[in-house]
């Protein structure tokens, strides 16, 4: 499978006796929108941190963008984008300064940064706001800008950790439109969310329960398998089985 951008084989992380992530195996295909779901405490964040090269696994194997999660964590960091609801942009820097900063961090050339910045400003129709502090932008704009910044260096995969929490319903949909476009341009999307309607927008979805991947398939297939009308129902059926109660 040369088109796999993430491969995980029995990937495990334990903290003492606690198996936060328990032998998860899966593959994510290039250009796919992959939904990574699970209840609080199911192990999503721990798994994501391993895939982003931020935390070493206890056992098992995994590669991200062709790089090994034990040996090549720095290479992984250069080749992925990351965005979360909590931390994304510097509030006290302007729109333009944020892009300059992130471009610099990823070692992009001045010329690239200049062209890319102009491109993003026009895509988001915020040319007039280029010198505005990020903290004074409405939340919906911030999230869209944060996503653009996360893929500024044109990574092969971007990890989105609850990107749309608290965003209004219209902005939430505009955000997903951007995700679709990025995926169409070949960027793989790895996304977590608590909104179950957003799970429907993914090509495939995995659901983690107590550290294990309990289900992985296209939303339509999952609904048939679990005889559910919506992904919300599928999620509730699986997540209710959880015995563990921790974040």
């Amino acid at each position: 499978m040369s088109s796999s951008i993430i491969t995980a084989d029995k990937l495990t992380k334990t903290f003492g006796d606690f198996k936060a992530v328990d032998q998860i195996s899966f593959e994510v295909t290039k250009g796919e929108i992959f939904g990574f779901l699970g209840a609080n405490g199911a192990g999503k964040t721990t798994a994501m941190r391993m895939l982003c090269g931020l935390s070493l696994p206890t056992s098992g194997k995994a590669t991200v963008a062709g790089f090994d999660v034990y040996e090549e964590t720095e290479k992984i960091k250069q080749n992925i984008g990351y965005m979360s609801q909590k931390f994304s942009l510097y509030e006290d820097l302007t729109v333009k300064e944020n892009m300059r900063f992130y471009g610099g961090i990823y070692g992009m050339s001045n010329k690239y940064i200049k062209t890319k910045t102009a491109e993003i400003l026009s895509q988001l129709h915020i040319q007039k706001e280029e010198n505005v502090l990020v903290k004074s932008l409405p939340l919906g704009w911030k999230q869209k800008l944060a996503f653009s910044v996360a893929i500024f260096h044109e990574p092969s995969i971007v990890f989105l950790d609850e990107p749309t929490g608290g965003v209004d319903p219209v902005a939430r949909r505009e955000f997903w439109n951007m995700i679709y476009q990025a995926a169409a341009e070949g960027i793989t999307i790895f996304v977590t969310t608590h909104y179950m309607d957003e799970a429907e927008y993914c090509n495939r979805v995995s659901i983690m329960v107590d550290g294990k991947i309990e289900a992985l398939d296209a939303p339509t297939a999952l609904k048939i398998k679990y005889q559910a009308k919506s992904m919300d129902e599928v999620f509730l059926k699986l997540a209710r089985k959880a015995v563990r109660n921790a974040d």
């Binding site: 409405p138 939340l139 965003v167 209004d168 319903p169 169409a184």
Partner: protein, 304 residues
């Protein structure tokens, strides 16, 4: 009887008051009811909660809680309400039990005296009562915070975004707890950015950019939706969305889970839509009439 009465409240921030947080907000909450303030981040929900819990002064307007003015009678109000802020605000280096004891003592009561009120919630975290609050999981922190807000048996409970960032299962459980508290006669004002939670309230106010869009029962809001609403899906959803956007009789179309929702300009649009679907032989499109939910209504108000 009205437990909370808000009249023309406005509040701005900034040196010159240039950032308007609330603009001329008015609503009433009936005693013993569960009232939801539904809106995205930045809508003004927290500002409103801080004014009603006597922690912030409004620029204009008045508000009463249990008949008492939030400015004149702030001390008395504080004794009779429970407040759970959106941000976890208990003492992280005190244990679960110590936190609860602390709040009980502050209000001149004891855990034993009001145990029956918090029992259903507290038993779930009691096995961890020696653990420091800062070391609890998100779900457990939420239960402890709710227990602390209830320990003095308040008449009105203010919950600011209690379910934000919480998974679908825990959110359902939390709303079950609220039903139980309502049954004990406590008036509850709760805010949330999750539109689907509106249906669990007796009455809701939809709020956006500091202004109330509408106040009604959940069913009433759905009944207010004045356009025919249909849903469509096909093998290529992105293409379908772009095609539908260009049809003149469609007022709005947006993704909605498995389907796209189509808001038609008028009833005549239904036949036109059906004809369009029949004419698209290259790609099979499935359509069906749907009942709007709160999110459809919210989008409708935002486009007004």
């Amino acid at each position: 009887m009205q437990s909370i009465v808000v009249k023309n409240i406005s509040k701005s921030y900034g040196k010159k008051g240039e950032i308007a947080a609330l603009h001329d907000i008015s609503f009433e909450v009936e005693t013993g009811s569960l009232f939801g303030i539904i809106g995205p981040d930045g809508a003004g929900k927290t500002t409103l909660f801080r004014i009603l819990t006597t922690l912030l002064l409004a620029d204009k307007g008045t508000a009463t809680v249990e008949g008492m003015d939030v400015v004149l009678s702030f001390k008395e109000i504080r004794k009779r309400i429970g407040y759970m802020p959106g941000k976890f605000s208990l003492y992280p280096d005190l244990s679960v039990e110590e936190n609860l004891n602390f709040f009980a003592t502050i209000f001149n009561t004891s855990i034993e005296e009001n145990y029956d009120l918090i029992k259903d919630i507290y038993v779930q975290i009691e096995p961890f009562k020696k653990r420091k609050a800062g070391k609890l999981s998100g779900g457990m922190k939420q239960k402890l915070a709710l227990s602390c807000a209830l320990i003095h048996r308040p008449e009105v409970l203010f919950l600011d975004e209690p379910t934000t960032g919480v998974d679908a299962v825990s959110r359902k459980e939390f709303w079950e707890m609220l039903k139980g508290l309502k049954a004990q006669g406590i008036t509850i004002l709760v805010s949330t950015p999750y539109m689907d939670e509106a249906s669990l309230c007796d009455k809701v106010a939809l709020i956006q950019k500091g202004q109330i869009l509408t106040i009604n029962t959940p069913q009433g809001i759905v009944d207010e939706f004045e356009y025919p609403l249909w849903a469509a899906k096909s093998a290529n959803m992105l293409q379908l969305l772009n095609n539908l956007k260009n049809l003149p009789y469609i007022k709005d179309v947006y993704p909605f889970g498995e389907y796209h929702h189509i808001v038609l300009q008028s009833a005549e649009g239904v036949e036109l839509l059906k004809k369009y679907v029949a004419s698209q032989t290259a790609e099979k499109i499935e359509i069906l009439k749907v009942v709007p939910n709160i999110e459809d209504c919210f989008i409708g108000f935002m486009n007004k």
